[in-house]
Symmetry: C2
């Protein structure tokens, strides 16, 4: 909810055609978000399909606008090729609305690669950024620790990790409200001088920077909350994120057998569900903002339903209201 | 126990001066091993100290020999410098016994770096090997899956990962008795073409080799036992191993609170201890063999006590009896 009466509502463009449950669940979630956050909606996709969905809701008086897009990028298509062949794809039209200043943020539950590529091509990358990055909690055990990068940047240079440190720092301040976030480097030893070549070189850059760098942390430190932002290459980050899910699954399975003789099934199920949520952050979040783009962009899971869509819109809303992008640009600019 | 009456007993040289509880616990564990496995022992270190310890046991008729070494490398010393300044260090004397053919295997609970460096310098590395590697189960949930490398090789070339695949394959066959072990590459996606530069290049080498390569696995696949041997660089492996411990710790702490209202403290403690064992493989193993050295060498934790010492001797015993080293040399030779 916007608390400031004078503040203009945030305008969110939504790729209504993207996702396994598009367009039904996307429209449903979007309408929920208007009601909850007072967001101004731009629904992008097949006009006919969208109007048919909207008929189910009473949207009179709600700030909802429909923009037609005649094409859709489907899962399995090569993003670059598909975007070339489909200039009127919903994901492209959505990005163009942000580029032209008609929307403050973009949400898509569609083809992740297509969202990434269209965001890079149309909105453009921020100064010094090679590819958008993804960062998040690595499971629910450390609510004040985010790890960057979790996937898109498999091969990194030291400079990229410094960028992640800056991005993570702004995310921690503006979105997690941590006032002076600490930044650490993920390594195979805590002392300076430990690490692979990338980590050792990054250590020196971070040390010389104005970043609030506290040194190396090891794998066992991540969930102990030793730092607010932990940087690593996206290959390592992605493997860690998925290993967290895998160990969570193995532990849940083991606990089911181990607790079987002690607890009622209902209780065991509840413990299993709780541990699942603590170790499957990607499922809980339903998606993530991508960072390093000149825009506020949310890439959701294909399997997102209305609640995840509403939450995504809520999150980009908060980011726009906090002037996250302006702050990030300013911080990255200082680095150059 | 050696079942073959005609087989010569395995001769194990033990660095009695290495470890937090040296020499008492080392001698105690070694004597246990002689009694259990019929191993022939060579105790290396200060003769006076060793004889004083031996007075506590009835060793008459047992195959125990003492070899004097007048110096010790202590924790915190730089391995290379210490080994230069202390030519009669117990770890060096132990390695020399193996080099000269007086011992079939070496066990040390001392300074890990000093063991690694002295093994490389005195025993030498196998064909094509840059540094010794370490591999093991990544927690107890996947008893037929080992990950290589878990630490020593922070920076790897594709060729190194192929060597890990060969080493892991021989470990799986000869030490874990898996007849035709499957080998996979850890990556950030299951399809060919996914990965960082190292993984992509390694994929091609593994595909072209005669190794039983089944493709990429992701972080969540490790504990599902999708392959018997999973290869990655030692930086990633080390972080995963420690993250496994960290997530184990977080889960145990959470379970203690979560189960508090349901179970008796004794039961909760038992569950915590079991989960600790499942997620802290390095603590459970008490050390590991290092691979890629022209010798059978066990590097134990400094905190090892008699049971860990006896287990280490038992493990190198099995490796010698299985002709692990001969097989590994032959397989690495085929690769060149």
């Amino acid at each position: 909810m916007t608390s400031d009466i004078n503040r203009k509502p945030v305008r969110v463009a939504i790729d209504v055609m993207g996702g396994d449950y598009a367009p039904q669940e996307i429209v449903k979630g979007a309408i929920q978000a208007v009601e909850q956050d007072g967001t101004e909606l731009i629904l992008v996709g097949s006009e006919d399909a969208i109007h048919k969905e909207l008929e189910q809701y009473d949207v009179s008086g709600l700030p909802v606008r429909v923009v037609n897009a005649s094409e859709v990028v489907h899962d399995g298509e090569s993003p670059v090729a598909a975007l070339r062949q489909k200039p009127d794809a919903s994901v492209l039209v959505t990005m163009r609305l942000a580029k032209e200043g008609q929307a403050d943020a973009v949400v898509s539950m569609g083809h992740t690669g297509a969202v990434m590529v269209s965001a890079m091509e149309i909105l453009g990358k921020l100064e010094g950024i090679k590819r958008p990055s993804a960062g998040s909690f690595l499971g629910g055990f450390a609510p004040n620790t985010i790890v960057f990068d979790l996937g898109p940047n498999a091969d990194c240079k030291p400079r990229d990790l410094v960028n992640f440190a800056v991005i993570g720092s702004v995310v921690a301040r503006k979105l997690l409200h941590i006032s002076n976030p600490t930044i650490a480097l993920l390594s195979n030893g805590s002392e300076e001088g430990k690490g692979n070549k990338l980590a050792k070189e990054t250590y020196q850059l971070l040390k010389q920077s104005s970043i609030n760098f506290i040194g190396n942390v090891e794998g066992n430190d991540i969930l102990q909350g030793k730092a607010n932002v932990i940087v690593c290459d996206g290959f390592t980050g992605n493997i860690l994120l998925k290993f967290c899910e895998g160990l969570g699954n193995s532990t849940i399975e083991w606990l089911r057998a181990r607790l079987g003789k002690h607890l009622a099934q209902k209780e065991i199920d509840a413990i299993g569900n709780d541990l699942f949520a603590l170790t499957h952050i990607a499922d809980v979040n339903g998606g993530a903002m991508i960072y390093g783009i000149d825009g506020v962009v949310w890439v959701g899971h294909g399997r997102s339903k209305a609640p995840e869509v509403a939450e995504a819109i809520h999150q980009v809303n908060l980011a726009v209201e906090a002037n996250f992008l302006g702050e990030l640009k300013s911080e990255l600019g200082k680095l150059q």
